[in-house]
């Protein structure tokens, strides 16, 4: 017994050492050649030591869930060490769990987002909770050359899909050659992210487990992309070639007949359905901790993936919990009620109604954990800089106007009234943990001073009407602004607070709530005055995903669509932006193709300094608490977590490490 224990500890130590050696600190630590070679040395040393141990041990090192052990005994599954890759990912858990049980969660639609859904996708790499450090996950390591043009991915040797077939470099090449470059599936070719200059990336198989992606110019964000599961382009790591082949006309001449039997007309329609990476079809092989086994319009069931390549520090294969049961609950109020009555294993609360959850703590058998949400602003406002009306366009484009609007917001009042004073009153900008962050951005015109706001507006020449109630435009009409919004997770009362504050400066503000689809259409065609959205994707990893940031003129706030069209079409469409904006777009482009750390830092600073000083997005309060209710008995749930888009929300709470202290009572 002691012998076995000792072994597993040695395995763990050597591997965690390797894991830490592979850590890449985004931006902060540069990967010098000498460092890289050290990494390689370490891992080869580890390799030799490990392979010795493996030949000696067989079943001794890894343990598995009883549910799988039964299947192994019945001959339905190979033993656990044959299912895991040579070097599985080792997750350090707080307490070693007990196998079994079910997690319950709700989603708005079948196959839609639910609280635990981040646990159902994995990527080559992953980030820590700050979205700052990137470590290899399903890949053993990811290397790149000096100037970020060639990236080499080393898949964990022996990694398998949930049906037991090996996951190899061929799966990645398949995705690129037969899916992205198929003219029926993608009539206009792969997405532009894979282009540097005019040329597409080259995907190359180096050996069974190693593949490389090379670009003609530097493309550093690929590191971030490979660690961010939500990015739809992370899907290069998600297509099981052996499964997808049956739907592809080039490999199955009867693919059209097959598609027809599923109700489609041609093969590519069925292929598109099965291609879905975020919500894989039941039965599609996957590499995530749980795989979907049944789909109905009322609920989905996910069951543990017997081949999931992750173990805890004692060698127990993760996840601990057997099943995830996801009910479809269409109504928002009903979902809230279900959380409040303990209908889900873990779920987010509505902050303004926290007392209801508190009161129910005993009867619904849950406890409340004080998690935080890393939205830099619960809701930020932006005025349409490309407004169709020349007078409004001129007003909104005046920086003094945006400064006035920012200082007119009483952030403290919003915080105290709606967030119990627990949020941060600050300007909307990137997260303080980002390596090139400047604290001045957070305080830039984020104080409250109505007089200053009025002085700024007076300076602009916006006169009051005869009653001194509203301000007038230069043409004598009342200065009216419609704020088009769609309720997200922020508290809707916030809108009313901002409206009142702005009215004090003589602005005639009309709040108009609309359907998200309508808001998107109106704003994309530039037919809005002002709109708002939350400031997520502010972690270091997310800020550097190409054009994903909310500050991008065409993303969610749509503050300068015409300029964006102009830039995107290289001057063919849209309206030519002013020089400072042209330069900003060029700086962003250069930043995404930074050659080294120095460029990454300095260009990153320039990009965000410009966005912050231009006040295109005016922040309110950010980093609000997001209390969650957790059923008593659910263990390994961290007491405090900052979650956000950059850390793929649910991914950051490591659902695969959750366990029930009494699994039999949670089936």
């Amino acid at each position: 017994m002691t012998h076995k224990k000792d072994l597993s500890r040695r395995v763990f130590l050597s591997r965690s050492l390797m894991a830490s050696a592979n850590i890449v600190l985004l931006g902060c630590i540069s990967r010098h050649p000498e460092k890289k070679s050290r990494t390689r040395e370490l891992s080869t040393a580890g390799d030799g030591e490990l392979s010795n141990q493996f030949s000696a041990t067989d079943n001794a090192v890894y343990k598995e869930a009883p549910m799988l052990a039964k299947k192994v005994a019945a001959g339905e599954l190979p033993p656990v060490d044959k299912r895991l890759p040579k070097k599985p990912f080792i997750r350090i858990v707080n307490s070693i769990g007990t196998y079994g049980g079910t997690l319950y969660d709700d989603a708005e639609t079948q196959g839609g987002r639910f609280f635990l859904d981040g646990a159902l996708i994995v990527a080559p790499q992953e980030t820590d909770n700050e979205g700052k450090i990137i470590i290899p996950h399903m890949c053993e390591k990811v290397e790149h050359n000096e100037d970020y043009t060639i990236f080499t991915f080393y898949i964990r040797e022996g990694l398998r899909w949930s049906d037991g077939v090996e996951f190899t470099a061929d799966d990645i090449i398949w995705w690129w050659e037969h899916e992205q470059n198929n003219k029926e599936l993608y009539p206009e070719g792969p997405r532009n992210t894979w282009k540097t200059g005019q040329k597409y990336a080259v995907f190359e198989k180096i050996s069974k487990w190693v593949f490389s992606i090379s670009f003609t110019g530097p493309f550093r964000p690929l590191i971030n992309m490979s660690a961010h599961e939500y990015m739809s382009f992370a899907s290069f790591f998600g297509q099981p070639a052996h499964y997808m082949k049956q739907f592809h006309i080039d490999f199955n001449p009867k693919a059209n007949e097959l598609a027809r039997s599923y109700g489609y007309q041609t093969w590519f329609q069925l292929y598109k359905e099965r291609e879905e990476y975020m919500r894989p079809h039941a039965g599609k092989p996957n590499i995530a901790p749980w795989v979907r086994i049944s789909t109905q319009t009322t609920h989905d069931v996910y069951e543990r993936n017997p081949y999931y390549a992750e173990v805890d520090q004692k060698g127990n294969q993760l996840p601990y919990i057997d099943k995830i049961y996801m009910s479809v609950v269409e109504d928002r109020k009903l979902r809230e009620a279900r959380v409040a009555t303990g209908g889900v294993s873990i779920g987010k609360t509505v902050l303004s109604q926290i007392f209801i959850y508190k009161r129910n703590e005993k009867i619904a058998d849950f406890n409340i954990k004080k998690w935080k949400i890393s939205n830099a602003s619960e809701c930020m406002f932006s005025f349409n800089l490309n407004h169709k009306d020349p007078i409004l366009r001129e007003i909104y484009n005046d920086l003094r106007f945006r400064k006035a609007m920012s200082v007119a917001i009483n952030r403290k009042k919003i915080n105290d009234t709606l967030y119990f004073g627990l949020a941060k009153e600050c300007q909307a900008t990137i997260d303080p943990s980002v390596s090139f962050f400047d604290p001045r951005w957070q305080t830039y015109f984020s104080h409250y001073d109505i007089d200053e706001a009025n002085t700024l507006l007076d300076e602009m020449g916006l006169k009051w009407d005869s009653n001194k109630q509203y301000r007038l435009r230069p043409d004598g009409k009342r200065l009216k602004t419609v704020v088009l919004y769609n309720q997200q997770d922020f508290q809707i009362e916030l809108m009313e607070f901002v409206r009142q504050d702005w009215s004090k400066t003589g602005m005639d503000i009309i709040l108009r709530e609309t359907d998200q689809q309508f808001r998107r259409q109106r704003c994309m065609s530039g037919e809005h005055d002002c709109t708002c959205w939350n400031a997520d994707s502010v972690e270091e990893i997310a800020t550097y995903l190409p054009w994903v940031t909310k500050w991008n003129p065409n993303n969610s706030l749509y503050y300068a669509m015409d300029w964006w069209y102009w830039y995107y079409s290289e001057g063919k469409d849209g309206i030519e932006p002013p020089d400072i904006w042209k330069e900003q777009f060029n700086t962003m482009e250069k930043w995404y193709h930074a050659k080294n750390d120095e460029q990454y830092q300095s260009l990153g600073y320039q990009v965000w300094d410009f966005f912050s000083k231009q006040l295109v997005c005016i922040g309110t309060v950010g980093y609000a608490p997001m209390p969650v209710v957790v059923k008593n008995g659910l263990k390994n749930v961290k007491d405090i977590i900052k979650m956000g888009y950059g850390t793929v929300w649910a991914k950051s709470y490591m659902v695969q490490t959750f366990f029930w202290d009494d699994p039999d009572n949670h089936n």
Partner: protein, 329 residues
């Protein structure tokens, strides 16, 4: 023979109506700007994801949404008459499978609600009419008006909360999650019975209230007629008199409107079903309309219209049988 001819005639008219319904539902679904993909993109954006234009072009091509309306409709209709309802965009599942999955619960809820409505409304209506302007009549009237006025979704939330607090019934759906996907056992059956009252009360509330008013009003009309006075003068026992003649006559409008109740139960319960999380067709149709998932929406509408036509036909036949004065022409 006459009956058969009548049924055939009605059914062929029904088919024509269905044709119109299909065309207009298809048209109306496509009326709002955008299509399934623009609503899909809006949803993606709401969950913080981004989709580039190239993937959208690819998806639009694959869904055939780049074709003109009439081509899309023609293709769909051609497949529909062959029994193929297409695939839902939202659920990526055959429309047929989705409807099949949801139909049993829908039918069970609708017919048990119909039964409850009749069982409560007819006796209460008769009672209220016989004791017009008594305390009981006013009480029935008050309850009836409240039932008609209270919005179903609000009542649903309140009742669910009470069921949870007092009886410990889990909130939402027709079953506790641990019983889903399990074969029917005694425990599962009891669990189902526990979950039924709230939805049935919510769904039947307004229908019952309306029917009580109808029953009371028509019976009052009948009670004032001369044949009732004559019968009473001849010394017919009061109960026999009431139930044999005026009640039977007063039932006619209720029977003839029975056919309408079917679609009303299907669609009227939609809001309540969404709030209650019921596995019926209503919420699916609602989501399909919101998401501009035209195949699913058209499929649901066709099923609902079909059921309505059949429901009306059945109620007409029953009417003819129950009241010999009515002829099938």
């Amino acid at each position: 023979m006459k009956l058969l001819k009548y049924v055939i005639k009605r059914l062929s008219w029904g088919a024509l109506v269905l044709l119109f319904v299909s065309f207009f539902s298809f048209l109306i679904i496509q009326l709002p700007p955008g299509d399934y993909l623009s609503s899909y993109m809006a949803r993606l954006e709401k969950s913080g994801m981004s989709v580039d234009n190239k993937s959208m072009v690819a998806l639009r091509h694959s869904y055939g949404l780049d074709q003109p309306f009439l081509v899309q409709y023609g293709k769909w209709f051609y497949r529909f008459i062959q029994g193929d309802m297409g695939v839902s965009f939202i659920y990526t599942e055959k429309v047929e499978t989705i409807i099949k999955e949801r139909l049993p619960a829908t039918l069970m809820l609708s017919f048990s609600s119909l039964l409850v409505i009749y069982l409560i409304a007819i006796p209460v209506g008769v009672f209220a009419a016989r004791r017009q302007y008594s305390l009981w009549d006013f009480l029935a009237a008050i309850l009836g008006f409240i039932g008609m006025a209270v919005p179903g979704f609000l009542l649903a939330l309140i009742l669910m909360w009470i069921a949870y607090q007092v009886f410990g019934v889990s909130i939402g759906g027709l079953q506790s999650p641990q019983f889903m996907d399990q074969p029917m056992t005694m425990g599962k059956f009891i669990d189902l019975i526990k979950h039924l009252p709230v939805p049935i009360i919510v769904i039947t509330m307004s229908g019952t209230a309306a029917l009580i008013r109808t029953m009371r009003a028509t019976l009052l009309d009948e009670l004032g007629k001369q044949y009732v006075t004559t019968a009473r003068a001849k010394g017919l026992a009061e109960n026999k008199l009431i139930y044999k003649y005026p009640v039977r006559a007063a039932m006619n409008p209720i029977i003839s409107s029975g056919g309408w109740l079917v679609p009303e139960l299907f669609s009227g319960e939609t809001i309540a079903a969404i709030v209650l999380g019921l596995p019926t067709i209503g919420p699916i149709l609602y989501r399909a309309l919101l998401g501009e998932d035209m195949y699913l929406a058209a499929g649901c509408l066709m099923i609902l219209s079909g059921l309505t036509i059949i429901g009306l036909l059945i109620s007409d036949i029953i009417l003819a049988i129950s009241d010999p004065r009515i002829r099938l022409e």
